[in-house]
Every structure is written in structure tokens, then in C-alpha cells.
Symmetry: C2
Subunit: 132 residues, 2 copies
């Protein structure tokens, strides 16, 4: 069911500062930038093999990422696991005891179809599925 680590989100207070530090330390040649107003964040991301590392700066204090940052501070926020089919994965999780937060998927960066899972089911980890 899980095909790869699709992306990992890291919450930061200052996106440009984070980009400059990651770029220098890891000799990253290229960042992709993108805003996601529905989540209240601006983002910059770079490749790590088949995965994306996404730096997120909240720009809306009421959004889920901003509230997570206020509660937990900066750092690792969300792990999104790649799957072939959101619909089949949701059906499997529902039949295995549950763990899906929303009835339907939403759109992430670049129109990725994502499905948020319930941290209470996964020992506190903020997990998500992305259909690739």
C-alpha cells in the first residue's frame, strides 16, 4: 500500500532564513516555491531522492500548521506517505479499525490529492497519504 515517503513537512518561523541555512549546509541547487492559502502557509521544497522535504512558514494564525507551531514549536510536523490510490487506502484503513480524519481528500501543493490521518490512531504522529 505504501509506495514511498512522498514528503515531509518541517515548520519554520522564517522561511527565507531556513532556506538559506538548508541550502548552504546541504548544497541544495534548487528549491521550488509555492503558497497554499487553504492551509495558511507559504512553502519552499527540495528533493531528497524520491521524496520532497517541504519547509512551511505559517501565514495564517488560525491554520492547522500555525496552531501546531504555537503548541509544539518549530521542527518536523507531518509525514506524508505515497500510495497508489487514496480511495483504496481509505477503504482499507476504515475496514482495519479506522484512522482517517476526513471523509474526503483535499488538495495539497501542486494539486496533490492528500488524505489526513488521525494522530490518535498512530501514536501521536501527524501522518497523511498522498496519491502519486
Amino acid at each position: 500500500m505504501i509506495t514511498k515517503v512522498h514528503h515531509i513537512n518541517i515548520l519554520v518561523r522564517d522561511l527565507q532564513l531556513a532556506v538559506s541555512r538548508y541550502q548552504a549546509a546541504f548544497a541544495i541547487e534548487h528549491f521550488e516555491y509555492g503558497d497554499l492559502p487553504e492551509r495558511g502557509v507559504k512553502t519552499a521544497r527540495f528533493r531528497a531522492g524520491e521524496s520532497w522535504i517541504v519547509l512551511l512558514e505559517p501565514i495564517d494564525a488560525e491554520g492547522v500548521p500555525a496552531r501546531h507551531l504555537a503548541e509544539h514549536g518549530e521542527g518536523l510536523f507531518l509525514l506524508s506517505l505515497g500510495v497508489d490510490s487514496i480511495d483504496k487506502s481509505r477503504s482499507h484503513i476504515d475496514s482495519s479499525g479506522g484512522g482517517v480524519i476526513d471523509a474526503s481528500e483535499r488538495l495539497g501543493l501542486e494539486g496533490w490529492k492528500v488524505l489526513d490521518l488521525d494522530p490518535n490512531t498512530f501514536s501521536g504522529a501527524v501522518l497523511q497519504l498522498t496519491e502519486d
Copy 2:
């Protein structure tokens, strides 16, 4: 420099409970188990494409993982990025402004050579490099 997401560590209070939930929800066929007494954890891990997802339960209250769990709770703990060479990567990071915690690498699960980075340099994220 970064070749892939080598592994992601998720801190849990009850490893067997976490394994049973992840296994059921994601139809995971196989877990690898391993203790890492130097870090004070027992672990179970499964593949996600080219990456490992590692569930960690602290068994030593004085270890770094146990202290992180006490301070931050369960959930995503550490992101380890794959590199071809720890030595070359450390030299580059040192020359780019720093960010390495220890002077030398240590051994992780399965004898992986790992190098811990300083969260203060990377906007609060607990990062590590693993030589693959």
C-alpha cells in the same frame, strides 16, 4: 549531497501497540526489530520505498529519545537524510557555517554510520545524516 530520505524516527510510548496499529492500517507485511541500547530504545521498522519508517520506544529515561518524548510527546522525532559520505558531508557543513553536533559519527541500527546535526541550525528540526 542528499541522496534520499534514509529513515524517519517516530517516538511511541508502546511499541507493540504502535506496530499493531500501523500494520493493520497500512497492510504492512514485515517489520524488522532491533534494540539500540546506546540510545536507550527498542525499535520496529518497515519500508516505505527507499526509506525506513522506524518506530522507537524509549527504555532508558536518561536517553535523548526519552527526554525528547518527555518534552514534546509522541510523534515525529528525527529525519535522517542519506548521503554518500559522512566525512565529505561534515566537511561541507563545517565550511558552510556549521551545524554538526558531534566531532565524529556514531553507529545507529544495523551499524549505520550516522551524524547528528544541531536543531538550532535547521529551524528546530532534529536532523541526521546516514551514510548508505
